[in-house]
C-alpha cells in the first residue's frame, strides 16, 4: 500500500511539474493545483496510523490520526488563497501583456 501511495503521489507530482512547465499560464496554474493535491496526499499518507473512526473525542474505537489532518486542513486553505492570488496575477498579466504565454512575460513593463 505504501508503495502504491508513493507511486501515485510521485506520479501526480510529476504531472504537476510537467504542467507547471507549460508555456500556457492557465496550465501552469492547473499544475500548481495538482502539485498541492500531491502534497496533501503525502501529508495524509504520512499519518502515523490509520483509524477506523473519525477523530472525534467521543468516538469509540481506533481514531484516525488527527495531526496530519490538521496540517492538511491548513494546507488546503492556504493553497486556496495562493491559488486565488496566482489567478488574479494571471488575470493582470493577461490584461497588461495581452497574452497568457509565460515566455512573453519578461520583466515588468508599465
Amino acid at each position: 500500500m505504501d508503495v502504491l501511495l508513493a507511486l501515485t503521489i510521485s506520479a501526480v507530482f510529476a504531472i504537476g511539474v510537467f504542467q507547471l512547465l507549460r508555456r500556457n499560464l492557465i496550465r501552469s496554474v492547473i499544475g500548481l493545483s495538482i502539485i498541492s493535491n500531491a502534497i496533501n496526499l503525502f501529508l495524509l499518507a504520512a499519518g502515523v496510523y490509520r483509524g477506523e473512526v473519525a477523530a472525534y473525542a467521543n468516538a469509540v474505537g481506533q481514531r484516525s490520526d488527527a495531526l496530519p489532518q490538521a496540517l492538511i486542513l491548513t494546507a488546503i486553505v492556504i493553497n486556496m488563497g495562493g491559488f486565488a492570488m496566482v489567478l488574479s496575477m494571471l488575470y493582470v498579466l493577461s490584461v497588461r501583456y495581452k497574452t497568457s504565454d509565460s515566455d512573453e512575460v519578461k520583466g515588468l513593463t508599465h
Binding site: 501515485t8 506520479a11 511539474v17 488527527a66 495531526l67 490538521a70 486565488a84 493582470v92 497574452t99
Partner: protein, 1003 residues
Amino acid sequence: MDDALTIPLLACAAGAGLAGLFTVTAAGKRISPRAMGWLLAIAPVVGFGILVAQAPSILAGQTLSWSVAWVPSLGLRFSLLLDGLSLLFALLVSGIGVLVLIYSGYYFTPARDEAGSEGATRNTDARFFFYLLLFMTSMLGLVLAGDAITLFVFWEGTSITSFLLVAYKYKDKEARRGAFRALFITGGGGIALLAGLVFAASIAGSTSFAEILRQGDALRASELYPVLFGLIALGAMTKSAQAPAHFWLPGAMSAPAPASAYLHSATMVKAGVYLLARMHPALGGTDLWFWLLSGVGLATMLIGAYVGFKQNDLKALLAYSTVSQLGVLVMLIGQDTEIAFKALVISILAHALYKSALFLVTGIVDHETGTRDLRELGGIWRAMPATFAIATIAALSMAGLPPLFGFLAKETLLATATHPNVPAIVDVIFPAAAVLAGALILAQAGLIIFESFLGKPKSERHPHEAPVPMWLVPAIPAVISLAIGLLPEPEALATLLARAAAASYGAPVKVSLALWTGINIPLALSVIAIGVGTAILALRSRLRPLFTTLSGALSLAPLYDGALKAIDGLAWLATRVQNGKLRLYLAIMFIATGVMMVTIGRLSIPPLPMAEVGQQPALAALRIFLLLVIAVAALASALLKRDLFAILALAASGLSVAMLMILEPAPDIALVQVVVEALTLVVLVLALTRLPREQRERAFEFTFRQSHPGLVRDVLIALGSGAVMFAIVLTALVTRPRESQLTPFYEQNAKPLTSANDIVGAIIVDFSRLRHVRGDRRLRDSRPGHLHVAALCLAQSRRPRRRQDPAGQGHAPLSRHRQPAHFAICAGAGLADLAAHPGAGHRTHVVWPRPAGGWLHRRGDRQPGRGDVVCRIWLRGDQATPDVAATRRLHRRRLAAGHRVSHRRCAGQRDVLLAGGLRQSAGHRLLAARHVPQHGHAVRTGHLPDRHRQRRADARHARPSCRCRSRDRPTDGRNRHPAPARRSDPRRIQSGWPADNSTTRPT
C-alpha cells in the same frame, strides 16, 4: 570601563553630523570654507585633548578599555581599547586631522580672489568636510577598536569614505577610476580580512583582541594558521598598498591634496601596518610571518623607490615614496627583533610627520601655481619662501639627513637590517636593499626641492605665497620633525614610542631618540646611502629617462583589468541565465532541487516494504481504485487539449482526493477539500471566461505545438522530479514511527481544554491559538510578511483598471500621482510587519502600528484600497490578544473600521474591501461553529461576555468556566474594555452595511 575613550569617536561623529548638516542646509552656503574648517576642527581637537589626557596612564603602562553589548545573542561587543600602539595612531589621526581640516578651508578657497571669495562658497565644500570627518571617525574607531568585528566595521568605513574622498571630483574620469580601483582592492582585501578575523576569533573563542592575543599559542599551533594569517595579511597588505597591489595608491592621487595628505600618508594606508602590528603578539614569530612580510615589504620598498623616481607628477612621486615607506614598515614588522619594533614606531611617526607636510606643501604649490608637474614648475622659491622652507625641512627628513627625525628612522632601519638575528641567507640582501631604497628616496626628496622650487622657471606662471595659516599648517609637522632631532631627548615621546613598540612586540622595548649613537655599521651604511643618493640626484637628467624605459610591468594592473573584465563577463552570463522566463527558472529550480537531494541529501529509494493488505480488503481495493483515478485524472488534465476539460479533470482528481480522505476516515478535511475543489473549479472557469478567445487560441497553439526537444526536456524534468518525490515519499512512509508522540496529547486534551469533540477542529482553532495565551512572543505571529504581500497585490491589482482609458493601448501607465500612494501602502504594510516581527517587543508590537496607521490615514487622500490597509495596520497590534473570541471581536471591529474609513475614502471599492473582512470573520466562524460548548453561550455565537456579564453568568452557572475566564482576561491595557467597540459595531453596521447584521448582532 573608561567612558572617556568614546569621546574622541563621538566628537568626530558629531563633527561629521554637523558637516552633513552643512551639506544639506542653507547654512552650508553662508559659511565660508575657512570658517567651516576652523569650526569643524574643534571635533578632532577635542579628541586629541582627551587622548592626551589619557596619555599619562598609558605611559604608566596601563591599558584602558571600554565596551558595550552589541549583538548579545552572538556574544558580540562593541569595544574600544587604548594602549601604547592605539594611542600613537590615535594621536596621529586626530592631530593631523586638526591640521588637515584647517588647511582644507584654505585649500578650497580659490587662490585668485581671496578677498572676495567669501560669498562664493558652495555646499560641495561642506561635502568634502563631511566625508573627511566621516573618514576621521572611522579611522579613529579602527585604531581604538578592541574587538575584531568592531575593527572590521571601521575598516570598511575607511574604505568607503576614502572612496568618496578620492572620487570627490567625480566629474573627472580619472578620479572615478582611481576611486573605484582603490575601493575594489581595499574592499576585496577587507573581505579576506573578515574571513581571517573570524577564523582567528573562532579559534581563540572570542572576538576581543585581549582574548585573541592571549590565545597566540593556540592560534600559531592551529592547522588553520596559514589560512587565517594569509587572509589577515592579504587584508592588511591591500590596505597598506603592498606590492603587487600597490598600484591603487598612485591612482588614488586624484583626491584633493588635503585628503591625500591625510589618507595616503598618515592614516589609512597605515591601517594595514597597524593591524599587523596589533596582531603580531598573536600571530607573529613564525617562519611564515617572517618570510611573507619581509619578502613583500622588501619588494614593495624597492618598487616604490624605483618607480617613484621617474614620476613627473609631484603627488605621484610622493605616492610612490609612500609605497616604499609602507614596504619598509611591513618589512620591519616581519622581523622579530626588538630593534625592528623600535624602528617601526620611529618610522611611523617620522613618516607621518614629513609626508603629511610634503603633501600639504604640494597642495599649496598646486593651489598657487595651478600645476604639480615637475616639467612645468621650477624657481618658485622666490615667490613662496615660507613654503619653500617648510618643503626643505620635510624633504631633508624624508631624505634621512641629520639632524632631522627621518635620519633617526633610517638609522634604526639600517640597524635592524644589519641585526645579527637576520638569517644568514639574507644578511646581505637586507642591508643592500635598505641602502638602495634609502638612496633612491633621498634622490626623490631632492627632486622635489630641485625640480620644483629651485632652478629656472619652466613656464610662465606668477605664483603668490599662500595665506599664512595655509603654510603654517604644514610647518607644524615639519618643525616637529626638526625639533625631535635637535632638542634633547623628549622623555614623554620616547616613553610613548616605547609603549607602542612594546604593545606590538609583546615585550618591553627600549626606545631612545638620540641621533648620535657613535660610529658603527648603520652610520657607515647611511653615509653610503647618502652618497649614492646624491650621485643619483646629480645625474637625474640622464637617469630618469633610463628608469622610464627600464621600468617594466611592476604591478598587477593588467591582472586587475583582467579581473574586472571577468566580472563583467560573469555579469553578462548571469543576465543571460536570468532572462525573465518563468519556465527556465522553474526548470533550474526543479533540477537543482533534485540534484541536491540526491547528492547532498544522499537520497535513495529504500527497500520496498512487503505488500500488506489491511483488515478490510474491500476498503483497500477502493483505495487503490481511488489512487488510480487521482493519477489518471491528473494525467488527463495534462493531455486534454481544451482548457475547460483540463480544469474538469483537475476537479475530478481533487474530488478523488477528497474521497480518499473520507476513507481515512477524515471527514473534516474531506469536507474542506470538496468545498475548495468546487471553488477552484468555479474560479478557474470564471478566469477562463475573462481571458480573450484569441489569447486562449494562441495559448493552445504554443502548448500543443511544442517542439519535440522541448517536450522531451520537460518530460525528463517531470520524470526526474517524480522519481525524487517517489524516493522522498517512500522513505518517509517506510521510516515513519508507528507511535505518535503528539496526537495522544491532542486526543486527551481536546475535550477538557477546549470542550470540542472534533479533535482536528480543536487543533486548528484552539491549540494553534494557544500560543497567544501562552504569551510566547516567538510564536505569537508566525506569519510576518503576509500583510506586505497583500499590500503589494493590492497595489498591483489596481493597475489594470486604467485600461479603460480611451487612449490606453494595453500597457497603460499608472498615473504619476498614484505611485507614491502605492508605495506608501506597501511601505506602511512593511512597517507594520516589521513591528509585528517575532523579535519585536511589546511596545513595537502594539504601539507602533497605531501611528503608522494614523499617518497613512491622514495621508490617504482618495486612494482606493487605502482604507482596508489603514485599518489593518491600525489594528495590527490587537492581534496579540489572547483568545479566539477577542480575535473574532477584533475582526468585526476591523470590518467596521475598514468600512468607516473606506466609506469615506473610496466608496466604489467598498464591496471588495468588505468582502475580505467578511471572509476573515466568516472563516473563523465556520471553524468555530464545529465547537459544541457545554456551557457558556459565548463561543457558539461568537461573543464572549465582557467582565460583569461574565461574573453574572458565572454566578448563574455556579460552575465558573476556567476557559471563559482565561479567555476573557486581557493581556494588555487596551483590551480591557472591549465592550464599547462591540456595542458600537452593530449600530454602524446597521447604518452602513446590513450584510453583517445577521452574523454579528449579539443574541
